[in-house]
């Protein structure tokens, strides 16, 4: 792992307007570069907006240089690494909620959202196909992991990324705010905060979570980008309910000292999980 500066963009998007959103990405990238960012992370479906419904197929793009929008982003990644998110159309006309890690003008890693929330206000499974893989990937800074929103409400994807060597979990969301109480923060914001803190503490990894802001009809996305250190400390916190660019330094030394103090990775027993799952899945199939 090398030392680097990451920037979390908590931005508004225009629903179903990739061209306008692309322009905004490019502006944010320039601003982040000026502030010293080596990696800029955009929220879930940053190129399209979230509640697309029947717009999903209209705004879908292929994750390669043949697509004019994707080409511009690949080009922008020559100077700074990027995580961008969009509706991906594959060669068989399937649509995924995807996020791409771009660096040096190339696609380094593509993650397709595995867990598609379809309950309450969420309709993901109606409009999207499900990703089937979670894996960490190597970048010029070190090994990272990338998950989209509901993916990290399930404990297994972050756990797998941890075992796969990810030292920084990049978690991107389009989380509609809900659960107003007298608490001062929305319940959705509090719960995501609890979850990300838990991952940072339990896995002794950096966790960088960004969420969009703005409205889509009556849905209010709450922002609250957060960077947590491998010791569970909050290193950066974006505001709620407004656009922001949140920067934090990722320091490998901090990972080393956190794991010396709390050797959870050393003592983890993946084989215990493996045998436990084998037993449980075996029982299910019987």
């Amino acid at each position: 792992m090398k030392r680097f500066t990451l920037a979390l963009a908590q931005m508004e998007t225009r629903l179903g307007d990739p061209a306008a959103n692309l322009d905004k990405h490019l502006q944010i990238i320039v601003r982040a570069r000026r502030r010293g960012a080596d990696l800029v992370v955009f929220p879930e479906l940053s190129l399209t907006g979230y509640m697309l419904q029947d717009l999903a197929s209209d705004v879908a793009i292929a994750a390669n240089g043949d697509d004019p929008v994707f080409r511009r982003l690949l080009s922008a990644s020559r100077n700074v690494d990027l995580v961008v998110s969009f509706v991906e159309r594959d060669s068989r006309h399937r649509h995924f909620v995807s996020a791409a890690y771009l660096s040096g003008g190339a696609l380094v890693h593509l993650h397709r959202k595995v867990y598609l929330p379809t309950y309450g206000l969420f309709q993901d499974s109606r409009f999207f196909d499900r990703g089937e893989d979670v894996r960490a990937f190597d970048t010029r800074f070190g090994r990272l992991g990338l998950l989209i929103c509901e993916d990290f409400w399930h404990v297994s994807p972050p756990y797998l990324l941890w075992l796969d060597g990810a030292e920084v979990l990049l978690l991107i969301s389009a989380s509609p705010g809900r659960g107003l109480s007298d608490d001062g923060r929305l319940e959705s914001a509090r719960r995501v905060d609890n979850i990300t803190q838990a991952y940072a503490s339990l896995f002794t990894v950096y966790v960088a979570q960004t969420n969009r802001v703005g409205f889509e009809d009556g849905l209010c996305y709450w922002g609250g980008a957060t960077v947590l250190g491998p010791d569970g400390q909050r290193l950066a916190q974006g505001p709620d309910l407004e656009e922001a660019l949140v920067l934090a330094d990722i320091d490998p030394e901090r990972i080393r000292t956190a794991r010396l103090a709390l050797p959870l990775l050393r003592d983890e027993q993946p084989s215990l999980v493996y045998h436990g799952l084998a037993r449980l899945l075996g029982e299910v199939s019987r």
Partner: protein, 277 residues
């Protein structure tokens, strides 16, 4: 707010930020900069007016007072106080003259029908003012009213944006107090002011404080009717409220389209209002 149960208590500052953001965003995305509010002198429209003034700027909000022959004079004066405090633009348009020939054919005892005519006349004026002022009509209905169907279809429920639609009346009151709605408006019994002496709680047969707690259990927490009775609500009231919610679902939906084609509005033609806005 001692009368609030823990679950109904809200952070009014957070709600204020979200609702002013909502009004600003959804107005400008639709290509507008202005809003029109029908100002009755009651709490819901007063709070809506405060929110709209803060979101859009008072010069971009038109408060429309729409008295009829039987309106309480206090209502006009309370509305005037809101206009003074918020600094919004205002107009007063009496619907008495337009209502007279319509009401002439409706028996005096049929207060619901007469009330609906008045509510729909107000809607006509608001939408006409909306065209003249180039502002979106901002609705004032709250979650209690919407769930119980205590609204006039295409009347007071007609609007482009509904900032208070996810706040129970009890929560509207809490927010109104925090935003500086005049104490007189906060204290008076809620009323549609369609006939002398009319009050919401009189018509509904239950206090807002009570029904809001019940609605919260049923709707937000999805508790069973039996659990609500166990929590202390009378069986008859629980039944009545559930029936009201069910019976009034039609008021909360666009008109039903009969499906014939493969792609039908409302069923499989699905886009938000913010489509590319």
């Amino acid at each position: 707010m001692n009368e609030l149960s823990t679950s109904l208590a809200i952070d009014p500052d957070l709600a204020r930020r979200i609702l002013t953001g909502f009004l600003r965003s959804e107005t400008t995305r639709a290509g507008f900069a202005r809003g029109v509010v029908g100002l009755s002198g009651g709490l819901d429209s007063a709070l809506t007016c405060y929110l709209a003034a803060e979101a859009l700027g008072p010069q971009n909000v038109l408060a429309v007072r729409l008295p009829h022959a039987g309106s309480s004079p206090d209502s006009l004066e309370d509305a005037a106080e809101v206009i003074r405090q918020t600094g919004v633009r205002d107009i007063t348009y009496s619907i008495a003259e337009a209502a007279a020939p319509l009401l002439a054919s409706i028996p005096a005892k049929d207060r619901i029908r007469r009330g609906n005519v008045l509510a729909r006349l107000r809607m006509i004026v608001l939408y006409d003012q909306s065209a003249d002022f180039r502002g979106l009509v901002i609705g004032t209905g709250n979650k209690t009213e919407l769930l119980l169907g205590y609204t006039t279809l295409f009347g007071d429920s007609a609007c482009a944006l509904n900032p208070l639609g996810d706040l129970y009346k009890t929560q509207v009151r809490q927010m109104g107090a925090a935003m500086g709605v005049p104490a007189r408006i906060l204290a008076k019994p809620p009323s549609a002011d369609l006939w002398p002496g009319q009050t919401d709680e009189g018509e509904l047969g239950v206090t807002y404080a009570e029904v809001d707690r019940l609605l919260y259990l049923l709707v937000d927490e999805r508790r069973s009717p039996e659990a609500c009775v166990e929590a202390g609500f009378k069986t008859a009231m629980v039944r009545k409220v559930i029936e009201r919610i069910r019976r009034n679902q039609y008021k909360r939906l666009p008109p039903v389209v009969a499906k014939l084609s493969n792609r039908t509005l409302g069923y499989d033609f699905l886009y938000l209002r913010d489509w590319a806005n």
